[in-house]
Symmetry: C2
Subunit: 567 residues, 2 copies
């Protein structure tokens, strides 16, 4: 049995707490909780992490990065590719016409396109092209294909696996100059945009019309819609709006030989022939370049609530998920879990009281520890009627607290509180990187074993004496797990004090073998890129790999599109 009370110890938040006791619970209604949640004025809501703006990049680490070719000395440049000549550059200038800023050859300016924001990969491209039209993209690719010049398509460059960075001297083709909304139909909800439109820009445009982009992720301030489609981005609200394979209606794609394939006029239903566009969703620029996207956008939810909960075990996380699916059903739009270690890392970066903290005093560095719950859950509901949503959430919270599934919780009431609570989930990526680096694994696993991977990795790092939060002589700070329970998607972040071969050898192939043994995927949403090219065999069978390679050859016989990557 448990008792539920409103914590009054902290004036700037409402929390619904369950304390173990033998007293019959007295319930505070969640609507009371919703209405008594105070503004978390001391915590500034921050926008989603945005690694890159259009022209200025914030790097995740100050360390300089080695050339990828030096980090991987066994990797050889493909000798079939031509070397860029002055004549080539002249030809590209002709194609881009008067667009002088569209041909970048200055090495300082090129640095921006040669490095990823995590500072893990660094290419040696001598040329970045920024076309403004699909026709120009077509002419560029045709020229490159005819002359065997390798090409790396680049969107917002927010990827996590080095997919958009040259490995050697590939030409970078940036979509950043193709950034117009083409059209929007407010009856059908069909949005058509250039590939280079920034996700947040698209979503803000839709918000004005009462609609929402069916995808949201931390890098929304920088990532491009075209890049989202090319990498089949999953993100935070896949649970509610489904995958891009369902919501993308049409694409405009340029094939390596310059052919423009256009299905932008496709309506919601069209059963005439193979659904070609599907091949390009998640192909990471290896089959062609996406230049336009048509996507079905749902009505923007009128009410959004967040509950941030503390639970005592991973089993309780799963039980909470089952109950949330059942009771919140059509309004459940996110179900995220975080282990305590991830919240400790976040606390070191955010330097504010944890949403479920009571009276913890900050230490000398301004950090206050989160409470001792081993797991936290963030639940988001999105619906069309605030009263109904509040009632459903209230009833759900009463049930899971009464039966002891959930031990503590707090709920948001306004946009600012909502962003603050999300910050403790979205900020983990950045927080994992604050000590010098991070090894990130983004995996799918069957739900019952999802968290076991994190425990197995911690044990292994300890066995090799590589991990300590406090001892700065150990390379690993901590290994933390969090992610989208609703999608069976775990993010395992190994936070390190610097990139380290000993750590890498202990982690890999161990992590991949563990995933294979448990029938998971080594990349749930980050893709393969450069980082995971050699590990695809842990998820895909030989038959599937052969079919994928055959398709690559079918569409890109010269292999010029994003070489050294994917598969």
């Amino acid at each position: 049995m448990s008792s539920l009370r409103l914590a009054t110890s902290s004036a700037n938040r409402a929390t619904c707490r369950v304390l173990k006791s033998s007293v019959r619970p007295t319930f505070l209604s969640a609507s009371t909780l919703l209405s008594t949640f105070q503004t978390l004025s001391s915590i500034k809501p921050t926008s989603a992490s945005a690694p890159i703006s259009r022209s200025v990049r914030s790097y995740s680490t100050a360390n300089d990065v080695k050339l990828t070719s030096e980090s991987y000395p066994n990797l050889e440049r493909n000798k079939d590719f031509a070397k860029l000549s002055d004549a080539d550059i002249e030809a590209f200038k002709q194609i881009l016409g008067g667009n002088a800023s569209g041909v970048i050859t200055n090495s300082d300016d090129l640095l921006f396109f040669n490095e990823d924001w995590m500072r893990k990969y660094k290419g040696q491209s001598q040329l970045c092209l920024k076309p403004k039209t699909t026709e120009q993209v077509s002419q560029i690719l045709k020229y490159c294909n005819d002359h065997k010049l390798a090409v790396v398509p680049q969107g917002g460059n927010t990827g996590l696996v080095g997919g958009s960075i040259p490995v050697f001297d590939e030409i970078v083709l940036s979509l950043s100059n193709m950034n117009s909304v083409r059209s929007f139909d407010n009856v059908s909800g069909i949005l058509k945009v250039d590939a280079g439109v920034v996700l947040e820009t698209a979503d803000m445009y839709l918000a004005e019309q009462g609609f929402i982009f069916p995808l949201d992720l931390g890098a929304k301030g920088s990532c491009h819609v075209g890049g989202n489609v090319a990498t089949n981005a999953g993100g935070l609200r896949l649970l509610r709006f489904g995958s891009l394979h369902g919501s993308v209606l049409g694409l405009e794609v340029v094939l390596p030989d310059g052919t423009i394939v256009n299905s932008m006029d496709a309506l919601r239903k069209d059963n005439t022939g193979y659904d070609l566009k599907q091949l390009f969703i998640g192909s990471e620029g290896t089959l062609g370049i996406i230049t336009g996207v048509s996507i079905l956008c749902p009505a923007r939810p009128k009410a959004v609530n967040i509950a941030f909960l503390g639970v005592e075990s991973y089993e309780a996380v799963q039980e909470t998920f089952k109950k949330a699916k059942n009771e919140l059903s059509e309004i459940l739009s996110a179900f995220e879990f975080m282990d305590r270690s991830s919240q400790v890392l976040a606390a070191h970066m955010i330097k504010q009281s944890h949403p479920l903290a009571q009276d913890e005093e900050p230490d000398s560095t301004g950090v206050s520890q989160p409470p001792e719950y081993p797991f936290y859950v963030l639940i988001e509901t999105s619906g069309s009627n605030k009263d109904h949503d509040d009632a459903k959430l209230e009833s759900f919270l009463e049930n899971v607290m009464e039966d002891g599934t959930v031990s503590d919780g707090t709920v948001s009431q306004d946009e600012s509180q909502l962003r603050t609570l999300w910050r403790w989930r979205e900020g983990i990526a950045e927080a994992s990187n604050q000590f010098g680096g991070v090894y990130k694994y983004d995996v799918s696993l069957p739900l019952p074993v999802l968290y076991e991977l994190v425990e197995a990795v911690k044990v292994r790092l300890a066995e090799h004496d590589l991990i300590s939060f406090d001892d700065a002589s150990k390379p690993v700070v901590d290994a933390v797990g969090y992610g989208h329970v609703g999608d069976g998607n775990l993010h395992l972040n190994v936070s390190v004090r610097g990139y380290n071969k000993d750590v890498e050898k202990v982690l890999e192939p161990f992590v991949y073998e563990w995933i294979q043994e448990h029938k998971g995927s080594i990349s749930a949403e980050h893709g393969l890129g450069f980082q995971k090219k050699n590990y695809v065999g842990y998820t895909k069978s030989d038959v599937e790999i052969k079919l994928i390679k055959d398709l690559k050859k079918h569409y890109d016989p010269n292999g010029i599109m994003n070489p050294y990557k994917y598969i």
Copy 2:
């Protein structure tokens, strides 16, 4: 202004009527309407139309059907294909081992597999094979590919475009003996089934676990899940649960050379390589044979409501749709429209009072006419909380009646009434066929022009003096329009007294040209099959057609899979 009152003239239903008047409306709450809806005891709820059971077929018409090769004398058998020999049959018997009933060569028994239920197409196959395992399918296809024997995969044979019927002497490979549910996970909602499981069987299995199959269609009692995926079936609830491209997680497919491609263990997210399964969704058996399906199933809605409305114009249909999307949002699960002509046809078949009828007396044949509204709308809501859903529907109905968008309406209260109301929408397909035949067009069009196609066809048929409901000397009874407004999907049925070349010449290519001019799709959900093979150019560009043909050649170089069809 309008007034709203409860019609008391008919004791066996509740209707909310809006009469033009200058009086300020008095509103009856929809919850009152919901609670006062009487049992429509005189109308027997009928199950969805099920053209075929496992071993007995009901034909849509008693007329005998000509051989397809006779109906299309210009079509020639591909001479590259081998003719079936006794040695081949012996080899297949070996492959199927002790399964004697799996090799059908008797011409009477073969008739079942050579004809479609609409009696439009008839093949001359001398052999039907019914394997029980994926391994047997693999061996059969490898043998056929090695010996250049053409193959038609056949599921429930409920298609509308002749896709599952042999054209000449192709071997029929029926999936009907592969009909087991493989597994279901009640946390993730992932269902794995053999391709030959009947859709309704899968849905009933899920219902017991509190889940729902994310697809529903009229032929659910006969169609196979594998066939649904192979034809990318859309159906009645795509609006709520999205397309199969989003919900299918994995497939088991046998390629023409016998290779088994298996992605059945895929989780909800997997970004490792091209999403190969997507190619097979909607490929209509031209690339390989689907033997297993893994699909994500949502929680079964706990509350379902239906409103059946009468409106004065097609513009009012669109306005009702916009308002329903906005107000019913996450619980809107179907938005169907029907023109009055479709309801007249349905009345001739159902022979009961129309849901919105007042005191119409049936004529001597037992038919009573529907009221004079030019359009009807069926709205379905599905949610997790009956009270919330009722309140949302009530508020919506009040709004659309107060502002005059909707003129009349009735709402269901229980499962039996719900099925009865659906019958007036689902029964149109069967009703269109009751006079001797039907030409069916299933098209996508931009919403504003969706219904104009029906009007254009009626005008054209009248100009050629081919249409009359009462004059039995005219070949066409009527042309009716209905469909899934939510998906921009129109069904145009031209109900005829018999198939007739004059009618065909007037309809085609007129209908296809009209669709092309208005940037629609000539097949929203029925697929291409045999019927629309030659019309794909009205929807797809030359570039797309070339890419599709290239892919077909890539996977099926001998062209043995479902020849003479698709593209």
